[in-house]
Amino acid sequence: MKPVRLQDHGFTLIEMLLAVAIGSLMLAAIMAASICLQRSFSAVDSYFASHVQQVRIIDYLSRDVRRSYIVTTSTDLQTVTCTIPNYLVDNGSNQPTRATPTLALVGNKVVANYQASTVNNVTITQGSAAISCPGLGLSSHFTSSNAGQSVVGTGIPAGTTIQSVSNCLLGNCSQATMSNAASTTNTSATVTIGALTNVIYSVVNQTIQRRENGGLTNIAASADTLIPITYDTELLNTEFTQSTVTFQPEFARGNQTFLDNERAGTAVFSLTYLRNRRRGDG
């Protein structure tokens, strides 16, 4: 008996073509599966990474809102401005120390300020940058050191500063000029003037930015497609914000309605009360 020596036989062309075709199909399937898996893994990775960014942004925003005196939101709900007491004293060594609080009376409420002062019975006129207080003999008035400092109060746009003071006697002044015109008229307003911290959250090229006194804080390194929405609600004696941050998942494909639903499904929500709005409450 002669055993067959298979290795001595070649493939026919048809066999070869058939084998190559089947092999190619199998490789293509494997490649496709690999690519899909990789994309899927990438999407999952991106989803978690974006989620981390979301949570961090919400945490930052909540922390700043919680410690704010005043919070305002833009009409498109995507820019939030927080005015925060300047708790830390910059002594130039990059190791700031804590400020000591000082008390002031606002109406019948005692409030505590850090590196700031409170002026009562201020007259603010809509459309005018000039503000005034009653008289130099009263305990509450502007001072010559207020020039250049931030000023906050109802009817005063966020980010406003005192440009100059006038009608002064011994450093106590009854008139001041702001950098912005007032948005309302109030003849008995209370304003806080001093080294206040101004934090602004805004959307720039689909990236949420946080700026503290103009300086950029890196809170979300790659926050593309993240969109914040903040509602600011004022109640009887308090104020709270409701913020939502969403992003567009990588896998999302389809019409706009589908995309909107996909985005809505990623929402991270936060509700934060301004703790300082209850300060001095009776």
């Binding site: 490789l27 494997i30 919680r66 120390t97 109406g107 019948n108 005692v110 850090y114």
Partner: protein, 564 residues
């Protein structure tokens, strides 16, 4: 015979493994995909640790800090009761140096709470005094600094650098750019306490490298607790229950400093502008005088529970704690907030050293005190007869006003007359049951803000008497219900017909009832209020700016978080 020559030997199949290429390719593919998948899993786990573990610790650290703040504030409130000695028990001890000026300072640590005992808090309280004249220098205020620490469970490293030495990129080494993202926000301490290393006690003292037992997150808050002198910021503030005016009654407000307002003893009824069956109030909107409207809608009512009932309208804001009050279901002109919890501490008896003692019968006593802080004192065993407090300073050309402080160790059922110019505090330990006419407050509203007088230059320029510092008629008769100390004891205040009332009531433990169709010119702080007759309750807005002369509570005046 079998031929075993080479030409005829049996041919065996040689396996060259040419099919193994496919196997290797498949294995490689699986390995590659597995590596990718493992990498993704590692990333996802890391992100999970960041979002779950780190976030949990971050939030719980704040909860711990706020718990410490609450414990500190609770201890501060103990100072209201003279029989309590705050900061002496329950783990409180003197704070380590350096203490603030003038101090002293106390500290307490609470640890081992939270899931698995992972939370701890250390609270430090500094006693400070105000030098701006905002509050009396004799009354301290308190700075409460609380540190909350949460131990991080799970993987020790969750994406942050633990380098804290001089060559490290974060924290101590480069305080100008303390990392990015989570490093900047949450500042996890893996091996060392970054805060102590960078800032010591927060003010630059006691800097040093301090290792931590476990990875942890720490958050720091600072509260400022100030004494409360002004408690009548609205018409009524009750802890437990409000059963408001009947269907023909209402709550509104006026201002005794407004010269255009009518005399409260002869109020003017005008139409108002909120819908409902009862559209009148004394000081509601008046088309011919807008100042009525400006003063009329501050009859605010605050209830510390959800128990709120109302028949007639309330011209002001309403706050409850968990209530279901709506504009559609009630007649309320102002803002409604159903999420305002509050408590009122019990009111302790005042010191009566040097006071003149008398019985409960009819008598006339004269007050010579010239300020709330230096009144003429009387102690009565009760008031069953007719007590009259006369003004002993009427002959004083510059300040013809007098202050009296009366402590009643018993019930009040008799008559009390307060002469014009007298501001009387009447403290009582028992119950009060009187008719409106029994509370005879002979003062009048000033009708304008008070002005200081002129000392004059004798003999040409005569002295101009100062105005009464208290412009409110109501504010001249002030009742204080001393909280019962016996367990389960209650206190009641009942005001019956006939007669209107011009007086304030601060009685945090008293259940207050107004019977009949009274007009009550007042402000009330109590345990509960029931006045479901056709009571007209009128709050004088000037009371909002009148000190009641005693520290009734402390309140949080500021909240900041130390984000370093």
């Amino acid at each position: 015979m079998v031929d075993f020559t080479s030409a005829n030997e049996m041919k065996t199949q040689i396996h060259r493994g040419n099919n193994g290429n496919v196997l290797i390719c498949a294995l490689c593919t699986i390995v590659i995909i597995s590596l990718i998948g493992a990498n993704v899993l590692v990333n996802c786990t890391r992100h999970y640790n960041i979002t779950a573990k780190q976030l949990k610790g971050w939030k719980e650290a704040l909860y711990a800090a706020e718990a410490g703040g609450d414990a500190g504030f609770d201890e501060v409130r103990k100072a209201l009761n003279p029989s309590n000695l705050p900061f002496t028990t329950d783990g409180w001890a003197a704070a380590p140096s350096p203490a603030p000026t003038p101090g002293p300072a106390w500290t307490k640590t609470i640890s081992g709470f939270g899931e698995g005992g992972n939370l701890s808090t250390t609270v430090t309280i500094d006693k400070l005094t105000d030098n701006t004249g905002t509050i009396p220098a004799t009354a301290p205020f308190y700075r409460i600094r609380s540190t909350g620490t949460a131990r991080l469970f799970g993987l020790p490293r969750v994406g942050l650098s633990d380098k804290i030495f001089a060559s490290g990129p974060n924290f101590v080494a480069n305080s100008a750019s303390r990392g990015v993202g989570d490093t900047l926000l949450r500042k996890v301490d893996f091996k060392y306490d970054h805060f102590k290393a960078s800032y010591g006690d927060g003010d630059g003292h006691n800097l040093g490298l301090s290792s931590v037992a476990y990875p942890q997150i720490t958050r720091r808050i600072e509260l400022v607790a100030v004494p409360k002198y002004y408690v009548f910021g609205g018409a009524m503030r009750v802890v437990n229950l409000f059963d408001g005016p009947g269907s023909a009654g209402f709550v509104d407000s006026y201002s005794s400093t407004n010269p255009t307002n009518p005399n409260p003893s002869n109020p003017q009824i005008v139409n108002n502008d909120i819908p409902g069956p009862n559209i009148i109030s004394y000081y509601g909107s008046n088309p011919t005088n807008s100042t009525y409207l400006a003063d009329a809608h501050d009859g605010d009512v605050s209830v510390g529970t959800k128990d709120f009932a109302e028949g007639g309208p309330i011209w002001g804001d309403v706050a409850t704690n968990g209530g279901n009050v709506t504009h559609s279901g009630y007649q309320i002109s102002g803002t409604i907030d159903n999420n305002v919890p509050f408590t009122l501490p019990p009111l302790a008896a005042p010191d009566t050293t040097g006071f003149t003692a008398a019985n409960s019968g009819t008598a006339t006593d004269t007050a010579y005190g010239t300020s709330d802080s230096s009144p003429t004192g009387f102690v009565y065993s009760g008031i069953t007869g007719s007590k009259t407090i006369k003004n002993g300073n009427t002959s004083n050309s510059s300040f013809p006003y007098a202050y009296a402080k009366i402590v009643v160790n018993g019930d009040i059922t008799g008559q009390i007359t307060v002469e014009k110019g007298v501001t009387a505090e009447i403290w009582f330990t028992g119950n009060m049951k009187v008719r409106g006419v029994n509370l005879d407050n002979q003062n009048v509203d000033l009708g304008r803000p008070p002005q200081p007088g002129n000392a004059g230059i004798p003999p040409l320029i005569p002295t101009t008497p100062a105005d009464d510092p208290n412009p409110s008629r109501v504010g001249h008769m002030k009742f204080f219900g001393i909280s019962p100390t016996a367990p389960g004891a209650t206190q009641t205040i009942e005001i019956d017909s006939p007669g209107n009332v011009f007086a304030t009531f601060y009685a945090p433990s008293a259940d207050i009832t107004v019977v009949g169709n009274r007009d009550i010119f007042s402000a009330i702080v109590g345990h509960s209020f029931s006045g479901n007759g056709n009571t007209g309750f009128h709050y004088d807005k000037a009371l909002n700016h009148v000190e009641i002369g005693v520290v009734t509570d402390y309140q949080i005046a500021s909240y900041v978080e130390d984000v370093r």
